[in-house]
Point group: C2
Chain length 296, copies 2
């Protein structure tokens, strides 16, 4: 089973507006609510693919209740750790010109017993691949406390990423900017090598429309999509993580994992909301992704 | 007593961000929640001034419960008409460059019995001045059903304004753009005369930093603030309405009412959130507003 952990759960709210003009008054034409946070998005994508997945997440207050109800209605298996704070909201503003603007609330503070309950919930599950996703709310411990038992993917940034390397995650998945931020190096291959030295088994760097770069113990590859897609890129990174988790759980070789990940990322860009994927694109694109081995 | 009616209540959420950049990801530094909707804002201002006021409003769902709790904690007297729908949210994004951007959700539909309950709640109160503020949600009747008994102020736009004139409101308060929209006339004095012919006792037009224009049965005046203020203009119109209601309830002559309204509008621009007023500015500015009679 793949288990995703979301310490900083969100209710994702999506507004559709004619255009977003700073200083103006906007009327949202369409308002949608969905359980979110990166680990929840990963679980949603894996559930859509029919994978055996479970989301472990925090939830609190009225907003947390909406998150729980949405997970139940989508039939995504979930272990919810109740917290005293109110689950945050993240608002996505979709404008008719195609722009996607995010407004993220900070997460509620976890007290020590709430963090311990989250750790216990993760340890209680028999896990083939553990996915640790997103930012840590105030009061949370570190991802390193969760890692180490199974194959694992760590998808976070900054301090949470650096501290998490002590847990020796099988894969970390920064984007190019996050990778530069934590290493100070602008060459992604050199920067990835640094993260591997610090504890990561493999480093998969998302390069936006250029695809993915994977620096692993068995080689370095770059995987490019067959075409550049326009759409909502918010959930693309979570779709990459979902594909990595599925590929790891199946024991696939890296080139196959990367084809799957690039194809699923594109499928997410075509989906209307974060966590949605276009399955036709996913299946067609896997055969079209160009994977090229690179010299170290 | 002054009674305000808010058929389309909102939970006002205010995010503070570094800057609002369409297409970008923003982290809200500060998140504040407050009961809102124009009539609620008017009641809040009047309550701050120590006036005898009561807010009558709809509220539903978890968001409605937050609205009710906020009114109770602010000790604003309120009659809440419960509705089956979920109270909407309006989000104000305050950026460090001073820009104020609003994202408004549409209101939930009222069923006929909910609208009737709102009308009954208004008719049950002994009212000196009735304030009808804001948009009408789907399913609502018209403001004309509420008007007619007492002195009254109607602050709405478009169809809701035109239909409400049948109730012969004592005062309507469009801004220049709303006035042009409903009359098709660009000269505000001529446009105001049209609204008076259609049923309005007086027309007070907000002209932004230029102050107020009042076209009444006893004369036409323009009132200008002593200085142009920078700040959050979201609640300025509601503060004007609060001052008009207070002035009408006290039987003040129009020049005095307009001084009060211009001063309170500026006091709202200086307040951090809609419904807040800077009392020192309000008191000082009343003596500085320039009121000039205009020829018809």
């Amino acid at each position: 089973m793949i288990v995703t952990v979301t310490p900083n759960t969100a209710l994702d709210v999506t507004y559709t507006v004619d255009g977003l003009r700073p200083g103006d008054v906007h009327r949202a034409r369409d308002v949608r609510h969905r359980a979110g946070g990166k680990g929840v998005n990963v679980a949603r994508v894996l559930h859509t693919l029919g994978a055996d997945v479970r989301a472990i997440l925090t939830a609190g207050g009225a907003t947390g209740a909406v998150v729980e109800a949405d997970l139940a209605s989508a039939e995504i298996p979930a272990d919810v750790v109740p917290i005293g704070g109110e689950t945050r909201r993240t608002t996505t503003v979709l404008a008719d010109d195609g722009s996607v603007t995010l407004l993220n609330e900070p997460g509620p503070r976890l007290d020590d017993s709430e963090w311990r309950a989250l750790v216990a919930a993760v340890l209680a599950r028999r896990t083939d691949v553990l996915v640790c996703s997103g930012s840590l709310p105030p009061g949370a411990g570190g991802y390193a406390e969760l890692l180490g038992g199974a194959l694992s993917i760590l998808d976070t940034s900054g301090e949470a990423l650096l501290a998490g390397l002590a847990g020796r995650p099988s894969v970390v998945k920064p984007n190019a900017e996050e990778l530069r931020e934590v290493t100070g190096l602008s060459d992604p291959v050199a920067a990835a090598a640094e993260l591997r030295k610090a504890g990561a088994g493999a480093v998969v760097v998302s390069l936006g429309p250029e695809g993915l770069l994977a620096v692993t113990g068995s080689g370095t590859w770059q995987a490019k999509p067959s075409t550049v897609l326009r759409g909502n890129t918010t959930g693309a990174g979570d779709a990459v993580v979902a594909a990595l988790a599925l590929g790891l759980s199946l024991g696939e070789p890296w080139p196959d994992i990367l084809r799957r990940a690039v194809a699923l990322s594109g499928a997410a860009v075509l989906g209307p909301l974060a966590g949605d994927v276009d399955l036709a694109h996913y299946h067609a694109e896997q055969g079209l992704v160009a994977v090229r081995a690179r010299q170290h």
